[in-house]
Each structure stands twice: as structure tokens, then as C-alpha cells.
Amino acid sequence: MRSFENDLNLEATELRLGLPGSSHKRPLSDHEARQDGGEEGRKTASSPKAQIVGWPPVRSYRKNSLQHKKADHEAASGIYVKVSMDGAPYLRKIDLKVYKGYPELLRALENMFKFTAGEYSEREGYKGSDYAPAYEDKDGDLMLVGDVPWEMFIASCMKLRIMKGSEAIGLGCGLQM
């Protein structure tokens, strides 16, 4: 018993959370999807699609536990990464979320480790300095700080390393180790 046409019927493939029968001609229980009347109390739908009680069938415990995790992560914030500098006796830790972009980050690193990073350009990396700020990304590769958009950087940066000397110059020229 189908009500789908044979030709391209985009509406039929549209994902929707309404009950079957609300837009297709099928005999069904004639009630609309409703908000949870249980623990959460009656809420007016702020989003256009209402949530169906008890669907998908995920146990309350699991549902609550995942929601807590989500909330915890949002509340905890902070992307803490270790920062090492070649030759320094111990590492530091910084919170990447605190900075709005590369200039701020570099200034903070320069202050922390007492060095100057030099002028960044895509072609030549950090010019005019013995140091090059690098980071290890999710794949384990050593990358030059500044090449990718900031959002992508903070999402993939696992730890920072301020390289010094000849190694740094090699990196500055765009060669990867």
C-alpha cells in the first residue's frame, strides 16, 4: 500500500520526525507526535519537530548518561595541550580555547618561553628566528603552526613543540620530518 509516485518524489525521501500518516495517506492512529509528558514536564515545542515519547527506544539510563556527558564537556571546556621547547628542562601546559587566533597564541608562547617566533608567511614559515612553533596533530605528524585555519588547528592539535636551530629552519621551509 504505497502512496509514493514512481518519479522523483523528493518529499517522500525527506527525513522527518512526524508520524507516518501525517503527510502520507496511510490509515493510522490520528494523533500528532507529542512532547514527553513525563519527567521533563510539559514543554511547548521550541523546535518545529516534536520529540516522540520513548523513541528511539534507548533506555532512560543511557539517554541521561549521554546527555550528562555532553553537558560535562560543554561545561568543562578548555583544550589543554602540552608545550615543549627544545632544550627546556620541563614542559608547560596551555589552554588553546583561551586564545582567539594565532597571533594571540604566539604572543603567549613567546612570553612563556622567552623567545621570538619571527615573521610567519605561508611560503617561508617563520622567518628571522631560530625558533619555529610546531605541533603534533591527530595523525601524529609534526606540522608548522599557522598553516591551517585556527578552528581546524585547535581541533587537531595534540601537543605543541617549539623547535630550535637547524631542525627549525628545515621545518620553516615547509619540509616535514
Binding site: T13, L15, L19, G54, W55, Y61, H68, K69
Partner: protein, 583 residues
């Protein structure tokens, strides 16, 4: 012969003549029977066997607590030591059953206190358990050893404190996924200093922090501890200290797997895991990341069950982990692993029998993450022994399911949840009838089926025609008419549990199962087209069924919005709340 028994079997002389075995031999043989089904069958052979069986039975399983009363139970089985009880209908897990519905353990405990003073074990699922009940249990049953509470509600950590304080011989405390009041972790401190018998401790689902010192000392002195599942308040370095004290663990549930470890701490953790040679089950791992997962690789060689359903792993992390788990038979994951992660499952886990994929964001309106039909397909190509699947996905096709069940014909449990209700095959726009048709045609051993997606009556025709071993069927937002439900009721001889929500099945369908319901455990129908009159008719025709209708503000005039029908030898419930009408 036991004089009590002589009184109760008046035709014992005849029994002796007919039965070639002396009673003592019969007793010894029947005492060896474990399976409930076998014992049931044995009890039907003759009166002698019935009595021999009831006297020798020590463990009883009651799938619906209202199907029998505690009084009837103790009268038939005088020597029970272990009781397994299930209470509320399964849809109560999804908030479809109001609070205070019932299934309270207390009335059972009162009767047990008089008749089973040596009760050792209680395993409850979907029952209401109060702190008073837990305290009563702890105080009245001096031999009590083993408590397992799954998906129960009504108690708090204070009740657990009573158990810890008073149960001197406790071997098992297993608290899973309950709706409880988690007041504090102090209950753990209540185990006495000379208490050493614990073998199983599972408090993974509790959130409040426990005193680590207490826990460490407890683990150190309980030399028989085999199963330890801690909660998220336990950190990685604390876990390391526990593992060092309990290297013979067979099942481990870790706490939070996110922590800043020094290199030394990491090495210590890895060493501790290396020392766990007996580990078969691993769970927990919340917030686990690629940073510390490698620490547990050395412990994975003998793993048969890996529960990652609370660890939001990405595909690469899963792939790397699975490479170390060659013997895996059961795997639970979150759909954060995506299809790519499931490809890794197919590549690494040739012995896999069970896969469950849970949704990380079940209530997201836009389902653009998670898994699709490709992930399931990939698993089916690599894991030919797959027999149990629970799969939450955003899209599916008939063709994919057909291929999957051709690859894996041994399915006993097939639970597919396409998360958008009534969604068709996303490639062809057709209903998903052929998918489930393929499942029932190709999998003759199928015992449990959950269907989803856009489905017409054809799905149910297929089920009724082919699913001859089907025992449990879950249906939601499916079907076109009464005919669908009729097909199932008339076609599936072994059907025991049928749960239906939001389907166009009405009185005709309901009443077509008149003869059937007495051979089933229960029927649940909610938001269907059944009316009060239909239910009253059913109740009138079948007096040995309890036909219960739950009042609901959503129901229209005359509509029976939530219907729960079950067979019972105990008659109508005496503890029904006002919103449950027994017809």
C-alpha cells in the same frame, strides 16, 4: 521416603509401579537439571515427577511477576534458594509506563522471609525496590549472597548501605542502569573490615564519588573478586592500583579513562593491564581517547566481550583497539565509530557473534552522523557467525538487509532501529517490507525481531509465514491494517512476547489472538486503535488473562490507549494503582 511427600502424592503406589526409578534416584537426577524449560517439561510427566521436581528445584525464574503470586510460588516450590523476577513491561524502559505502576518486590520479600529463610540470590529486572525492602532483605536473610538489580527503580544508595552493612556472606552486588537516588558513595564504606567474600562488584552506573581508600582495601581483602566494574569517579591511576591488587579479574569496568598521566603513571598502568591475563570482559572506558587506550592493549588477548557503549570512540581508535582483540565474540559500540569503524570490525573480528551499535545522539533532529547500511554490510561480510544484532541507524535499504542475512543466516536476534519512524528504503523509496521478509526467510533460527522503518502489512505476512521460531516481536509505527497483526498471531507458534506501539491495529486484530494469549507471556499495545469495548470483550472471553488498560490524558473517548494483557494464575492484581483498570 519423605513423609511430607507421601502425604502429597496419594497415588504414590501407582507412581512406583509405573516409574522404573526409585524416588531417590529420580530426585538425584532431577536435581541435576538446570534449565527451567527442562524442569517444566519434567514436571508434566507424571504426578511423581511433578513432586520430585518441585522438591528438588532450587532456582525459579518468573518472567512476569504478576503471572503468579508469592503465595502460589512458595506453595509449589518449598526449597528455593535463587529467585529471578521480571516486573514491568519492557516499554517502561522508554518512559511509556507511568511511575508507581507496580512490580514492587516487597510483598514477595515478606512471603520469602517466612518460607525461604535461606534465600541466597535475588535477580530483579524492572522491579520497584525501596530502601526499606533492601534493608529488610539484608536483615532477614542471613544466608543472602547475591543481589542483582537491572533497570529497577525506587531505591537509593542508602539501601545499598544496608546491604553492605548486614550481608555477611555477600558474594555479588550488581547494580545496573537503575533509576535510583544517588545520594552519596558512602555505602561502599559499610562493608565491614572482616568482610572478604565479595566476588562480583558492579557499581558502574552510580555517579556519586566513592572513597577510594575503602575501595582499595575492599578489593585487596576480597581474594575471590572476579568481576569489578567501577564508576566514573575512579581515575586512571586509581584504576592501576586496583588492578595491581586484583590481577585475576575476569571482568573489568573501568572508570573515567581521561586523565593527565605522567609517563611513569602510564607505564605503570600498562604494566598493570599486562598483568591481567584472565580478562574476558572489558567495559566503561568513558572519555577514552587514543592517548591512553594503548595502555590496555596487553590485556585484550583473551577478551570475548568488549562494551564500548559509553566510550565515544572514533573509527581509527576502534580499529587500533580491535587489532588486539582476536577472540572477540561480543561487541557493543556507540555510532561515533561510524561505518569506517564497523569496517574495522568486519576485518578484525571473525569470531564475532553479537554486535550492538547504540546512538550517541538519539534525539538529534538531523541524523547526519552515526552509521548507515554500509557499516552493517561490512560487518556481515567479515563476521559470518553473527547471531545477535542491535543496530540504531539513520538509513537502511532492503537490498542491504537482504545481503546481510545471506551472509549471516544464523541470526537468532535481529533488532533493527531506523531512527526516523516510518522511513522508507532511502534509495528506492519503497517500504522496508522486503528487508524483514529476507530476515525471516533466511534466518530459520530467529527468536527475537524488532522492526522499524516504513512497513506495510506485507512485513507481517512474511513474519507469520516464515518466522516459526519467533518468540519476541517489537513493532512501532508500522503496518497498514488489522490484517498485519492477525498474520503474526496466527502464524507464529512460539510467540511469547508481542509489544506494539503506534500502529493501526484495532479490536479485530486484538480479538483474533483470543486463543493465543494464554500461550504467551504478554501483549503490549499502546497508541493503537484498540477500544475499551474491545478490551472488555477480550477480558470477558478469556478469564485467565489479565487485561489491563492504563488511563492516559492522551486517550480519546472510548480508546484504550495503553493495553497490557498477560496470562496469570494469580487472578487480577491486588495492588493496581488508580490509573490501571483491570477489566
Amino acid at each position: 521416603m519423605d513423609p511430607k511427600r507421601a502425604k502429597q502424592s496419594p497415588d504414590s503406589a501407582e507412581a512406583i509401579r509405573l516409574s522404573p526409578f526409585p524416588d531417590e534416584a529420580l530426585d538425584r537426577i532431577l536435581a541435576l537439571l538446570d534449565s527451567h524449560k527442562d524442569r517444566s517439561s519434567a514436571s508434566l510427566v507424571s504426578k511423581a515427577w511433578y513432586h520430585a521436581e518441585r522438591w528438588s528445584r532450587s532456582c525459579v525464574f518468573i518472567g512476569n511477576c504478576y503471572s503468579v503470586s508469592p503465595e502460589i510460588l512458595v506453595h509449589r516450590f518449598p526449597n528455593i534458594r535463587r529467585v529471578i523476577l521480571k516486573g514491568k513491561p519492557r516499554f517502561s524502559d522508554f518512559n511509556l509506563v507511568p511511575q508507581n505502576w507496580g512490580a514492587d518486590i516487597h510483598s514477595w520479600l515478606l512471603v520469602f522471609a517466612d518460607h525461604y529463610p535461606f534465600l541466597e540470590e535475588l535477580r530483579l529486572k524492572r522491579m520497584t525496590v525501596s530502601d526499606q525492602s533492601l534493608e529488610f532483605l539484608a536483615l532477614k536473610f542471613h544466608n543472602f549472597k547475591s543481589l542483582s538489580l537491572l533497570s529497577c527503580d525506587g531505591f537509593s544508595t542508602d539501601g545499598l548501605a544496608a546491604i553492605a552493612t548486614h550481608c555477611r556472606n555477600l558474594t555479588e552486588l550488581d547494580i545496573q542502569e537503575n533509576g535510583i537516588d544517588d545520594i552519596s558513595g558512602k555505602w561502599l564504606n559499610c562493608f565491614p573490615d572482616n568482610f572478604t567474600s565479595l566476588e562480583v562488584l558492579n557499581f558502574a552506573s552510580l555517579t556519586s564519588e566513592v572513597n577510594f581508600d575503602s575501595l582499595e582495601r575492599l578489593v585487596a581483602r576480597c581474594n575471590s573478586l572476579k568481576i569489578l566494574k567501577v564508576n566514573q569517579s575512579i581515575t586512571l591511576d586509581q584504576l592501576q592500583r586496583l588492578l595491581v591488587r586484583a590481577p585475576r579479574l575476569m571482568e573489568l569496568g573501568s572508570g573515567s579513562f581521561l586523565q593527565d598521566l605522567t609517563p611513569q603513571q602510564y607505564t605503570d598502568l600498562e604494566t598493570a593491564f599486562r598483568g591481567c591475563r584472565n580478562l574476558q570482559t572489558l567495559s566503561g572506558l568513558s572519555e577514552a581517547s587514543s592517548l591512553y587506550l594503548p595502555a590496555l592493549y596487553p590485556a585484550c588477548a583473551n577478551l570475548t566481550f568488549l562494551n564500548l557503549s559509553y566510550a565515544a570512540l572514533q573509527s581509527e581508535e576502534l580499529a587500533k583497539l580491535l587489532a588486539h582483540c582476536p577472540l572477540l565474540r561480543r561487541l557493543w559500540v556507540l555510532d561515533t565509530v561510524e561505518d569506517k569503524g564497523l569496517e574495522a570490525v568486519g576485518q578484525n573480528c571473525s569470531l564475532l557473534e553479537e554486535l550492538r551499535v547504540f546512538p550517541e545522539h538519539p534525539f538529534d533532529q538531523e541524523i547526519d552522523h552515526g552509521v548507515t547500511e554500509s557499516g552493517f554490510l561490512a560487518v556481515s561480510y567479515g563476521c559470518r557467525k553473527l547471531s545477535y544484532v542491535l543496530y540504531f541507524c539513520g538509513q537502511m535499504t532492503n537490498a542491504a538487509v537482504a545481503t546481510i542475512v545471506q551472509n549471516c543466516p544464523d541470526f537468532t536476534h535481529f533488532r533493527l532501529c531506523i531512527m526516523n519512524p516510518g522511513q522508507p528504503d532511502y534509495l528506492t523509496n519503497e517500504p522496508m517490507d522486503e528487508a524483514f521478509g529476507a530476515v525471516v526467510k533466511n534466518c530459520p533460527k530467529l527468536q527475537r525481531l524488532a522492526v522499524s522503518g516504513l512497513l506495510t502489512d506485507l512485513t507481517f505476512e512474511y513474519i507469520g509465514t516464515y518466522a516459526k521460531n519467533l518468540e519476541t516481536l517489537s513493532v512501532a509505527f508500522a503496518g497498514s491494517s488489522d490484517w498485519g497483526m492477525q498474520c503474526v498471531l496466527e502464524g507464529c507458534p512460539k510467540l511469547r512476547k508481542l509489544e506494539i506501539r503506534d500502529c493501526p491495529f484495532g479490536n479485530k486484530a486484538l480479538l483474533s489472538g483470543l486463543e493465543k494469549y494464554e500461550s504467551m507471556r504478554s501483549l503490549w499495545m499502546s497508541a493503537c486503535k484498540v477500544t475499551m469495548n474491545g478490551c472488555k470483550l477480550l477480558a470477558r472471553e478469556m478469564p485467565r488473562l489479565n487485561v489491563e488498560v492504563m488511563e492516559d490524558e492522551e486517550s480519546n473517548e472510548g480508546q484504550a490507549y495503553k493495553v497490557y494483557v498477560y496470562r496469570s494464575v494469580a487472578g487480577p492484581r491486588r495492588d493496581a494503582p488508580p490509573f490501571v483498570l483491570t477489566l
